[in-house]
């Protein structure tokens, strides 16, 4: 019985975590974006600073009619948002918030993340195809082509980390970054991977992550001025909310993965033992917040690329660089 209780608690905590974090990120996007555009942004909902705006938006979406086009393949059309949301939610399962605060400490954690996150493409393709709309189909195809192209640099950047850490467990990777790297006299120095020669890998990972998220400058799949809303064109109501939540949840998820892989996860110099379990979530959230803000900032500053430019960027720059990065890291590892 203990197992089932734990399972239920874990699922509920996970869902709450994902929901609140995506609501917070949505709010951050609304606010940060509006301040970058010299607007106020949400102001009234919730009484102060419009904090309840994301909730209000969510409620609004929930009560909207759930439309589906006449020519659509209803089953596939209905399942698509769940596939996308599922693939993003599953990422959270393996993210360690502290040495012991992890839902499932998978031996193959990183591998799991990559496998699961590749499923969202399936959902997007389903959405694009089943909508019976040419814009949707083109958007879905663009998304798939883009996600496949950027899956490679993403995986290759992760491979370098795995090589450096010598494990595929996310917890193990964090611990590898908290290990003493060298000592200055009596002062032990532990550095996250980004400071241990993984700058290139981190940059590649973040670029690929933004591309996986289909956000500006890589938002061709939903490019509003070209494909109206791409694969989202026909969606409304709760199904649209799923995609929307999924986008922000995976923003948090990928930022969390980036923070774990490159920035030392829940670790912070001087925080060890029980303190790591107590302060760990806060530290990780702080690191996630920085990355999320970076992604938001990019969105409100840049235009979008063109599909062919995006592809050539992935194949001619990111993948060779990522391979070089692996070679460097592996060489580094062999030498030291």
């Amino acid at each position: 019985m203990n197992f089932w209780l734990l399972l239920v608690i874990e699922v509920v905590v996970m869902l709450l975590l994902v929901l609140t974090s995506s609501l917070v990120v949505i709010y951050a996007e609304l606010k940060a974006g509006s301040h970058m555009q010299s607007r106020i942004g949400p102001y009234y909902a919730g009484g102060r600073w419009g904090w309840a705006q994301p909730l209000a938006d969510g409620l609004k979406f929930l009560q909207k009619e759930d439309l589906s086009p006449t020519g659509a393949d209803k089953t596939v059309y209905g399942f698509a948002p769940y596939v996308v949301l599922m693939s993003t939610l599953a990422i959270f399962v393996v993210i360690p918030l502290g040495p012991d605060l992890v839902a499932v400490d998978l031996d193959v954690g990183v591998y799991f993340v990559l496998a699961i996150s590749s499923l969202s493409v399936l959902g997007i393709l389903m959405a694009g195809w089943s909508s019976a709309n040419k814009y949707s189909l083109m958007g879905g195809l663009r998304a798939a082509a883009q996600l496949i192209a950027y899956e490679l640099p993403l995986v290759l950047a992760v491979v370098a980390v795995v090589v450096q850490a010598g494990t595929m467990s996310l917890n193990g990777i964090v611990e590898a970054q908290n290990d003493v790297w060298f000592s200055l006299g009596s002062f032990d120095v532990a550095l996250p991977f980004v400071l241990r020669g993984q700058v290139l890998g981190f940059a590649i990972f973040m670029i690929a992550a933004v591309a996986e998220l289909s956000r500006i400058p890589f938002d061709m799949p939903i490019a509003e001025s070209e494909l109206t809303m791409g694969y989202l064109t026909e969606y409304s109501g709760i199904r649209f909310t799923m995609f929307f939540l999924g986008e922000y949840a995976s923003m948090v998820g990928l930022s969390a993965i980036a923070a774990t892989l490159f920035l030392g996860g829940y670790g912070f110099p001087g925080v060890t033992g029980t303190w790591a379990n107590i302060l760990g979530p806060g530290i990780l959230i702080g690191k996630i917040a920085v990355l999320v803000f970076l992604i938001i900032w990019i969105r409100w500053t840049w235009p979008r690329l063109r599909e062919d430019q995006l592809q050539s960027m992935a194949w001619t720059w990111l993948i060779p660089l990522a391979l070089l990065n692996i070679a460097l890291i592996a060489g580094f590892k062999v030498v030291f």
Binding site: G71, A72, D73, V76, L106, D107, V108, Y111, F112, L114, A115, I116, S118, L119, V121, L122, L125, M126, G128, W129, S130, A132, L137, G140, L141, A144, A145, I148, E151, M168
Partner: protein, 180 residues
């Protein structure tokens, strides 16, 4: 040691197996009977996901996630892109409904294949039990793959190439159609 049917049902793992296996079987069945190519592929996804889940149940986590990453995340997606770019009508595709003279041999072949594999598995393992919930260490797997099984491993990677070629072959017009 043989187990009675009642004992079999008392075991939670067996229930889990049934919950996974029945949809997997159904999806496999629909994959070959579906009238729409995209739907057929999506059923194949379900059936592959079920297979992956069974692997994970057996403790072969790495293999399970490999099925997800390689088959669903790569092969199926490439395949879907291929057919969606070229021909992916919604609704029933008459081209996919095969005549009985094609179906019957296919069904016979399937049953035969099942019988052969089933016999081989039972013959090899008989009643030996697999310890549940004890994942195989990935490191061991890696060591095996890169020493003893390295050539089969590389050969298997051609499956991606096969998927690509299959996509192209599907996209090409038949000879009696106009050439692009």
């Amino acid at each position: 040691m043989t187990v009675s049917l009642a004992d079999w049902f008392r075991e939670a793992a067996n229930w889990a197996f049934m919950i996974i296996a029945i949809p997997t079987l159904f999806a496999g069945w629909r994959t070959v009977t579906s009238n729409n190519i995209v739907r057929a592929v999506l059923y194949l996804v379900v059936s592959l996901a079920g297979t992956a889940a069974l692997f994970i149940m057996l403790g072969a986590e790495f293999v399970g996630w490999t099925v997800v990453l390689v088959y669903i995340g790569a092969v199926i997606i490439l395949f879907l892109i291929g057919i969606m770019i070229t021909r992916a009508p919604l609704g029933v595709d008459a081209d996919l409904s095969h005549a009985r003279n094609v179906r019957t041999p296919a069904a016979v072949l399937g049953v035969l294949l099942f019988a052969v594999i089933g016999y081989a598995v039972i013959d090899a393992f008989e009643n030996s039990m697999i310890e549940p919930f004890e994942p195989t260490a990935t490191a061991d797997l890696a060591n095996l793959l890169f020493s003893r099984w390295v050539i089969p491993f590389e050969v298997v990677s051609f499956v991606l190439l096969a998927a690509l070629i299959g996509g192209i072959a599907l996209a090409r017009k038949d000879d009696n159609g106009a050439q692009r």
